[in-house]
Subunit: 317 residues, 2 copies
């Protein structure tokens, strides 16, 4: 806080100082207000509706060994989300690609998590009419991170099924990737209380929906099912279905009853944040024999192999 | 943008510069990172989960003629919301009161909109576990604003009923005042398309829920009903019920079918942002005789009279 208005309260209550200090040590770059800056300096106005109304959409693409993975698909989805929210970007697709590439170069990260954001911004008159707002584009790059840590990727994640229901598509269009995560966060706390590591939410019909930032897949008798509706149309989810086609595995989108999850041979999750990750316990019950299964392993291997495929990646020099 | 990383892109694309300039002219003060600053300088880190996950709660109290209106009730609700989200405030109730008072004094506003916020903050290690985050308290004061402008307060608001359903309580606890507004925003755009000025959302059962930042009331044969569940437990809504008791008007919380809205003698909305405001058209159909009704007027008058009542207000010297 470097304002002339600062007073003694700032000295007596350190507030979030430890997090601020740590932030300065994170390798990351942001693009904000038309320029690049270290992630520790990247801040948005309190009055931006992206914060005060969570009126924003975003997308996350990852960079692995200096190559974007499926950048085109992420840009397609981001631009579709922007249109669905009736937002307007100040940059075209080529400029977005350039900005994201510049962020990664400047961050000097080989493996990175690259987030692009469009917020409603704010109206110059503080009007409550969202049509008056000047929309804003922001991007940032931080080190790559995974939903599952190394141990969890090896032995499988332990999930709980939450009593909190996923926000339904009748309220918020899940095709628009959005920051409405309070259902996920409250469900996560519930899962921690039950000694689980992560959480699954059901939809309003009581079928399996998704977890915080990931889609779910159930393997039974060699075929794969993922929930059809009321979930994020994940790029990694889409990738899994393409990989299944390549491997000759039958994969489909359909309603997934909770019992199918408990009775599965294998369960795995998919996310840009970690790719394909095995699940080996749900609500304290082992899935299959309690170890990551052969189909999950095969898909995971092929998923990472594709990170060298020129058709699926964009190199950053 | 004052970073050493800024480059030519910032010159060629003005981005949100008009909004930034206008912000500098808004009379307002924020308390952030333990100190006070002009609202134009008040910014939060992009990485705060209050932004990236909308993992935050807030409350808004207003100041009218240099008196807080029902500050205690707003603090009660804010502290309850903070607890429900398992957040921790770095300040106690007396300190919060002092910070809010300081903000209003420094802003030199007689009529103000005073927002208090607690965000999840961020973890020093960028961990995805919300338990690792250092929670953050922020407050800001800007000029008082109303959902309805002067003309609308006189002739009544024109509302549309949206096809978007309000996020249900099974997903996000509506007692926790939150920034999950995408349902409201999408519904607002739908209402504008239909030449309405604001919007009503129904709950998942098809009954009346609420609008963006306001509760609804239906008057029929001298008695008043407001939706019972799945809505914000508004302080102004509560105030209306207390005012009804004082005036000997029967008021209750119950499910409100859509038809009751269309067939009402009077309809009004309640919000800290404007108090009690009449509604005279819904979906292009006049309510009652198309003018604000006598019960709405009586309640509105008493509501504003209470702004001088020492029991309901806290003076700022």
């Amino acid at each position: 806080m470097t304002s002339q208005f600062s007073d003694s309260l700032s000295q007596t209550t350190p507030d979030s100082a430890p997090a601020e200090e740590a932030l300065a040590n994170i390798k990351g770059i942001a693009f904000i207000e038309g320029g690049y800056c270290p992630i520790a300096e990247a801040k948005i106005s309190l009055l931006d509706w992206g914060f005060l109304r969570s009126d924003a959409t975003y997308d996350v693409v990852h960079v692995w060994q200096s190559r974007f993975f499926r950048l085109d698909k992420h840009l397609d989805r981001f631009l579709a989300s922007v249109t669905r929210l009736r937002l307007t970007l100040p940059y075209d697709r080529a400029q977005l690609t350039d900005i994201l590439t510049q962020c990664v170069r400047r961050a000097q990260l080989e493996d990175a998590y690259v987030e692009m954001i469009c917020t409603r911004g704010m109206s110059p008159t503080l009007s409550r009419d969202p049509r008056d707002a000047v929309n804003r584009f922001i991007a940032f790059v931080i080190p790559f991170s995974s939903i599952a840590n190394k141990e969890q990727r090896q032995r499988g994640l332990y999930l709980a099924i939450s009593r909190v229901r996923r926000i339904p598509p009748e309220s918020v269009d899940p095709r628009v990737k959005n920051y409405h995560w309070l259902d996920f966060i409250q469900a996560l706390f519930e899962a921690y209380d039950r000694n689980a590591e992560n959480v699954v939410l059901l939809d309003t019909d009581g079928n399996v929906a998704e977890g915080p930032g990931f889609n779910l897949f159930v393997v039974k008798n060699g075929t794969i099912t993922t929930p059809a509706r009321g979930v994020l149309e994940g790029i990694t989810r889409h990738t899994v279905i393409e990989l299944c086609a390549e491997l000759g595995i039958d994969a489909s989108k359909a309603p997934v009853p909770v019992d199918d999850l408990h009775n599965a041979d294998e369960v795995f999750i998919s996310s840009t944040a970690g790719g394909i990750m095995p699940v080996t316990r749900i609500d304290d019950v082992a899935i299959g024999n309690g170890n990551p299964g052969p189909i999950t392993r095969k898909l995971t291997d092929l998923y990472w192999q594709k990170h060298n495929d020129p058709d699926w990646t964009t190199p950053i020099d």
